[in-house]
Amino acid sequence: MLPTKTRAGVTAPTDELVEEVEALLSPTEADGTFHDTAECLGALLGGGEGLLSPPTPRPKPKK
């Protein structure tokens, strides 16, 4: 087993060290945007239906 080094120089747990320990014990959830598969499927089908629908009737141009 190879030895590993730690940084010395601190003689007692400081408030900063205590806060750091608590932060490492309670890491926050990573940020991100997540989509529900069912909702995505619904949006996809709805969007597809809209694209495939016939164009809005418009008056024929007069000759």
Binding site: T4, K5, V10, E16
Partner: protein, 232 residues
């Protein structure tokens, strides 16, 4: 994880080094003596080493818990010093549970092997019943050091939320949050409740390959694999 400040960086680095040492011991088996404290070139009461041991919690003694490797007096002193120097923040579930886990492991691993009942009563686990699947995934991942061979109230709580944890495992894999994926996979392995369709073993093997840059992920993977093999 936060790594701001000189002490924070030092703690983070030491956590990584200790986690790497423990993960290697779990991976290589019980052939060689394990003495974590002797592998750290520092004073036995170095606050940074104690802080790192407190962050890793019961995992500091994982080679004993998982493989039955003898515990050195130095490692017992390191774990005991960490528990004394950094008492739990009672307003924090992870702080309370991990401190309890470290203390209980110390009681069991210490001279005479006192039962866990000697330690304080287990903290409450009601949060595991009411939380959403995202919340309990995040919370159980924070408590992965308690996913070991010793039964606690967390094990049946994890088993009761197996589907939600499986969903969280998949989400963590897709987000490439390797530490969370390994930690949740460790809980699923400890509770023995992973659905066959999840492919937990293959997922953990993938995390071991692509997520090995974080030693805590590697440690959780090795622990999960040991639990899946039914060691101890």
């Amino acid at each position: 994880m936060t790594t701001t400040g000189r002490n924070g960086s030092a703690v983070h680095e030491t956590v990584q080094r200790i986690a790497h040492t423990v993960a290697s011991a779990l991976h290589n088996g019980g052939g060689n003596p394990f003495d974590l404290s002797a592998s750290l070139i520092t004073h036995a009461d170095d606050p940074v080493a104690l802080a790192a041991a407190r962050v890793l919690g019961a995992d500091v003694l994982a080679p004993w818990a998982f493989l039955g490797m003898p515990v050195s007096q130095g490692d017992l002193a390191l774990a005991g010093g960490a528990a004394r120097a950094f008492p739990p923040d009672t307003s924090s579930v992870p702080s309370t549970w991990t401190h309890w886990g470290l203390t209980a492991a110390l009681h069991r691993a210490g001279p005479g092997g006192a039962p866990a009942a000697v330690a304080a009563a287990e903290p409450e686990v009601a949060w595991a019943v009411d939380g959403s699947w995202q919340q309990i995934t995040h919370r159980f991942a924070q408590l992965a050091s308690l996913a070991g061979p010793t039964a606690t109230a967390l094990l049946p709580a994890a088993a009761a939320r197996a589907d939600d944890l499986s969903r969280g495992f998949v989400r963590a894999m897709r987000r490439q949050d390797w530490v969370q994926a390994a930690a949740v996979g460790r809980w699923l392995a400890a509770a023995g409740c992973a659905p066959a369709s999840l492919g937990l073993a293959a997922g953990l093997a993938l995390v071991a390959q692509v997520g090995a840059g974080d030693a805590r992920a590697a440690l959780h993977v090795r622990a999960a694999q040991a639990l899946a093999r039914g060691e101890r």
